[in-house]
Amino acid sequence: MTEHLASFPVLSCMLLAPVVGLLILLFLKEEQGYLIRMVSLVAAGISFFLSIYTFVAYDKNLGGLQFVEKIPWVKAFGITYFVGVEGMNAPLLLLTGIVIFTGVLTMWELKTRVREYFIFQLALVTGVFGVFMSYDMFFFFLFYEIAVVPMYILILIWGSTRKIYAAMKLTLYLMAGSGLIIPGILMLYSSSGLYTFNMLALHGVAFAPWIQKVAFVFLLLGFGVLAAVWPFHTWSPVGHVAAPTAVSMLHAGVLMKLGSFAILRVAMYLCPQGFQYWAQFMGLLAGAGIVYGVFVGLAQTDLKYVIGYSSVSHMGIVGLGLATGTIDGLNGAVFQMFAHGVMTALFFSAVGYIYDRTHTRNILELGGMSKIMPVASAFFITAALCGAGVPGMASFWAELMVLVSAVKVFPIRGILAIASLVIGALFALRVVQKTFFNDPNPKFAHFEDVSPFLGLPRMILIGFMIFFGLFPQVMVGLIKTSIVPFIQGM
């Protein structure tokens, strides 16, 4: 892959903006609520702006790795600070920027322990940015863990519904995943004989097939936990339900993508033969996830559980796309990561608003919310339409690309997936009908609808969702610049 050095450290700025914000917050007092929010918003805003910049400024004709920064870090172990942008991580950086910016806005009304909340949230998002831009496995893993651990505290303190259980379960599951990732990564590191953590250099090494097979399955399962690959998904709905709104947004929207991105970036990239060997197995797990997520989601009465299980099935689509190993499949998978991220963020953001007022997420209890909060309901319904794969929304294209190539590669699983998605869509509409168009619950009649300011983050999310629904070529064209060489290199 050709590398083009950055003239200005855009990526480092994107990465460090939340860190600087976090450091400023450390020296503020809890009473300075407005200042705390503004600092977080500015920090998130800078990252958001820079992520848009890299997305737009990435030169598609030039291709390769751009905005590269490379600093030797620990010579003794061959660790380099190596960040860059290419077609497949540019959308995900953008996604992270969108979700953290709208996440800070969504949490504007937070009352308890505001300072600590934003400190941990900014720490988390630093990790996420870091994972998406790192091309050195040491930093990749370092940021990966930074992104995972603050979740424990975020859920524990600001969460709801069985939060103590959920926080511990989530953390232990994800750390167990890390327990598999470490041996996988180190196995590749030490058997390469290069003594470097640089992924591009390791890609050039032809690992023995058995090493690839072993390392791949370790990495697949380890990262798969975070990507909520069936049957390691059980932490995810519980965790999403318990987490506070913006954390659910970040978690379902971005964090789960770390897992699938890492499978693509590390596992498939470094162990192509391992991937060939396990592709069937991967497809099987992904297919099971899609079907399982849809049907379990149908039985839920808690809105957040519905979304949680739909995430499992949507992440299954990402996994299925990856498992096909075709250009369209990978393209669709990356696109789906982006589309699902924006969509779920909107979902949780909408539910969060309703829940903050009504203190319930029970579908039957909510009844006809659209008569009480038409705007808030509209946000949810838009997300639901996107989730159901309605044309004109970003995920329509993504799912289409994945499913078309899945039917070619795994006919039975592909058709099953399509069938269950159709059924899922049908029932999603039933959920919308029950929650928003039944008789309104008089208990909630006095609540106000979303104010324009609080509506802003949701509008941003919808804007991106529809923009990429109408102009999918912007996204697909970009992703393709890295997927095509990726497949050729495998």
């Binding site: 003794a76 370092l142 750390m175 890390s178 327990g179 598999l180 041996p183 030490s190």
Partner: protein
């Protein structure tokens, strides 16, 4: 003079404190301030002597980068422990000067240990440091639990010393020399007889005891719980670091022994970390939990030694230094919260986030560092250990280590849970300025050297070159 600088300084310091102990009426405040300042100067002295190089006492005593790094670490450990000893509620005022005295002699003994390259010198220095600790542990004013801890510590210490002497006699008998350099040359000839292996493993027992490696770990929980918080902080930090140093020195002898020797270390490592982590899960007393976590950490450190290669040794040095800092951070929080000197239950950390945000920040950083969560020295150190073990081909060891990392997270998170989530209506904790500064400094060290470990790891590599 400069070669023996730190030792001479601490000998002098011990003498000054000895004079303090002679007074009939203790002057607690003045003694404390003087000791703290002198201990601080001691850190500077050790740092000034960092680049000394040479041999003393008929080559029984080698001053090199390796020993000087650990001397600096020990001086730092003593200084830090004295920093948190302003009000040691559980040690009577008339024994305060003795408390400082024995801490200082223990530091002196351990400093001499790091430089000893001759078996008898090693043994004598070891006993100097151990006897000081045997006295320090039961110094606590308590209801008998201190005596139990003291006796356990003494007995298990004596037994492991016995093992060690036995091992040393084997080595001496086989190699006809007490100098490590000569023994190293003679080692290849012992390759085919078990005497070298058995002798070496037994000789290391004395330091396995200090590091609380299985099967010499039994003292740890009781001593941690029974000793005064500050004494335990010293045992858990400085004493561990020096144990790593000496295990490295002795393990270097085993390079020629190769496979069998490494297998023994590997088994000890696996048992230590698994046992430590599993038992720590059910602990309710904070210090007891830390004791079991120290057993687990001893297992992690051995991972770096198993490979018997330079990179692994350097990782072990890095981890020993990192462990000193992160474990001390936790002990500092512990002794500030339990300012009346009681044993702290984990649940008693409740409401810490409100009572003292600064302490709770230090606690979370220290605990996360122990758990190996980035970006902390604990994470980086652990990853280096894993990397070097993997480079030597110990795949299963790394896998078990990684699984252990997950296990340990459970009980570390329980501490975070108590400190950040549980509520209590206790009043805020007032911290003195020096404690506040100490908090900031420790947090900064944990983060900065976790993210940018290069300088330390290069230093450690340069240091272990003289050992292996």
């Amino acid at each position: 003079m400069m070669l023996f600088g730190p030792e001479l300084y601490y000998l002098g310091l011990a003498f000054i404190i000895f004079l303090m102990t002679l007074r009939r009426t203790p002057r607690v405040e003045r003694d404390y301030n003087l000791t703290a300042v002198l201990a601080g100067v001691g850190v500077l002295v050790s740092l000034l002597c960092l680049c000394q190089n040479g041999e003393l006492f008929y080559k029984a005593y080698r001053v090199d980068l390796f020993s000087q790094i650990f001397k600096a670490a020990l001086a730092l450990g003593l200084f830090l422990v004295i920093m948190i000893s302003r009000n040691i509620a559980h040690i009577e005022e008339r024994f305060r000067a003795e408390f400082y005295l024995f801490l200082t002699t223990c530091t002196l003994g351990m400093m001499m240990l790091t430089s000893s390259v001759e078996l008898l010198t090693i043994y004598v220095s070891l006993e100097l440091s151990s006897y000081s600790l045997y006295i320090l542990v039961p110094l606590r004013r308590g209801d008998g639990i201190d005596v139990e801890a003291g006796i356990k510590y003494l007995f298990i210490g004596a037994v492991s010393s016995g093992f060690m002497l036995f091992g040393l006699s084997y080595i001496f008998g086989a190699a006809h020399s007490t100098y490590l350099a000569d023994i190293m040359k003679a080692m290849p000839q012992m390759l085919h007889s078990p005497i070298g292996l058995v002798g070496l493993i037994l000789a290391m027992a004395g330091f396995f005891f200090k590091l609380s490696v299985f099967p010499f770990h039994f003292w740890a929980p009781d001593v941690y719980q029974g000793g005064a918080n500050q004494v335990v902080a010293f045992i858990a930090t400085a004493s561990k670091a020096v144990a790593v140093a000496l295990i490295l020195r002795l393990a270097a002898l085993g390079v020629g022994l190769g496979y069998n020797f490494a297998q023994v270390l590997m088994v000890l490592s696996i048992i230590s970390m698994t046992l430590g982590n599993l038992v720590a899960i059910i602990q309710r007393d904070f210090k007891r939990m830390l004791a079991y976590s120290s057993i687990a950490h001893a297992g992690y450190v051995l991972m770096g030694i198993v490979g018997l290669q330079e990179a692994g040794f350097a990782s072990a040095v890095y981890y020993a230094l990192a462990y000193l800092i992160m474990n001390f951070t936790v002990f500092m929080v512990l002794s500030e919260v339990a300012s009346d000197g009681r044993d702290l239950k984990i649940a008693e950390l409740a409401g810490l986030w409100r009572r003292s945000p600064l302490l709770s920040m230090s606690l979370i950083l220290g605990i996360f560092a122990l758990a190996g969560v980035p970006p902390s020295i604990g994470f980086t150190g652990k990853l280096f250990l894993f990397t070097s073990a993997m480079n030597s081909g110990y795949f299963w060891l790394v896998l078990i280590g990684a699984v252990n990392g997950t296990l340990s997270l459970y009980y570390y998170l329980k501490v975070v849970y108590a400190a950040y989530f549980m509520e209590s209506d206790l009043p805020p904790i007032q911290l003195s300025l020096s404690t506040r500064l100490l908090n900031y400094a420790l947090c900064a060290v944990i983060l900065v050297f976790g993210v940018a470990p290069n300088s330390i790891i290069e230093l450690a590599r340069a240091a272990v070159k003289t050992v292996i």
